[in-house]
Symmetry: C2
Subunit: 201 residues, 2 copies
């Protein structure tokens, strides 16, 4: 069972001409979300795939996919990821990371229809995360099964995009506290870790 | 009720002569922990106090205290905090942040004995966070009451320091998954947020 995260970045810059991640349409949020999705202390989560769809200038959309299974030569700090993101946006390679022109809508449709993933969209008025029974999650591992979590950055998703996402997924919520996107991912990872541990006991 | 976090940094550099936080004894972990302790989306947690005790060269210990109530002119990105931490270690000022020579032991003793805080020490074999009844937390707000969470960075606390902490506090755990220090703080904040919300319903 793979867990995937999709970050919708409304203004994230889509070329490599930036001085800092913060000034590149808040790509520092992308960095924070990558770390909370994929990193443990002294190790990587090999069962996580992280996607970002950048919708900022000059050439949106750009889809960046980071696969925990094949990712290497990384650490958590911002300098490292500023270098990697710049490289990827300039069309160069890094192990475990790919870049293409897939739109948010196309990615989500493919996850739902082709890969039969279960899609969850983070919204304040969704079902409480702790009350969600993750479909398939508590069963034995099965090839191709996956749970996908969709979230926006500090600006959030446009209404139209949100409505599109909800055609495929169900709304879940971390409550009324307005957490950073990266904090949401950490809490989801922790919650899924606990469900898995409970299963194995 | 105030919630406080104390990060014990075994090798965090204690002067301002560094090029990057990562190379300054992993002060990038300090930055990550500051963000997860104090920041919400578009806002600060005014009821959180964050402490770091840096024990690296050249002049340990250095105690940095960041008070959410008076902190301002900050954002989450690393450049901002690299500038602030450098400034503070060079003896300059920033609103809401202080620096002194208090040791870990002295800080913890004072929290426990003078301020009557409830101390919790993160350890893998502690009581599960979700089963802990936080003393005082679910009561009405009272002056001076506080819960304090103690955690180490990537290296962890020396055995002697850990034993000292456990004289004053009780062991709690996030389970067997080895989370980043910053992720532990995020999960604790989320857990306390939920307890508070439940009380108000």
């Amino acid at each position: 069972m793979v867990r995937e995260f999709i970050l919708f970045s409304r203004i994230g810059q889509t070329d490599s001409s930036f001085g800092s991640l913060h000034d590149a349409g808040r790509l520092d949020i992308l960095h924070e979300c990558i770390v909370s999705s994929l990193f443990l202390s002294h190790g990587l989560r090999r069962d996580v795939v992280f996607h970002a769809i950048l919708n900022g200038p000059p050439n949106p959309p750009v889809h960046i996919k980071i696969d925990g299974q094949t990712l290497y030569d990384v650490r958590t700090d911002m300098e490292t990821w500023q270098g990697i993101i710049k490289k990827i946006l300039a069309g160069k390679q890094h192990p475990g990371i790919s870049r293409d022109k897939t739109s948010f809508e196309a990615l989500l449709k493919s996850k739902a229809e082709n890969e039969k993933c279960h899609i969850y969209v983070l919204e304040e008025d969704g079902k409480d995360l702790q009350d969600v029974e993750f479909k398939g999650w508590e069963k034995e591992e099965e090839d191709g099964e996956c749970v996908v979590f969709v979230l926006g950055d500090h600006v959030g998703m446009p209404k139209k995009t949100e409505m599109f996402a909800l055609r495929f997924g169900e709304k879940i919520s971390l409550g009324k506290t307005p957490y950073l996107a990266a904090s949401c991912i950490t809490v989801i990872n922790y919650t899924l870790d606990r469900k898995k541990i409970k299963l194995n006991v």
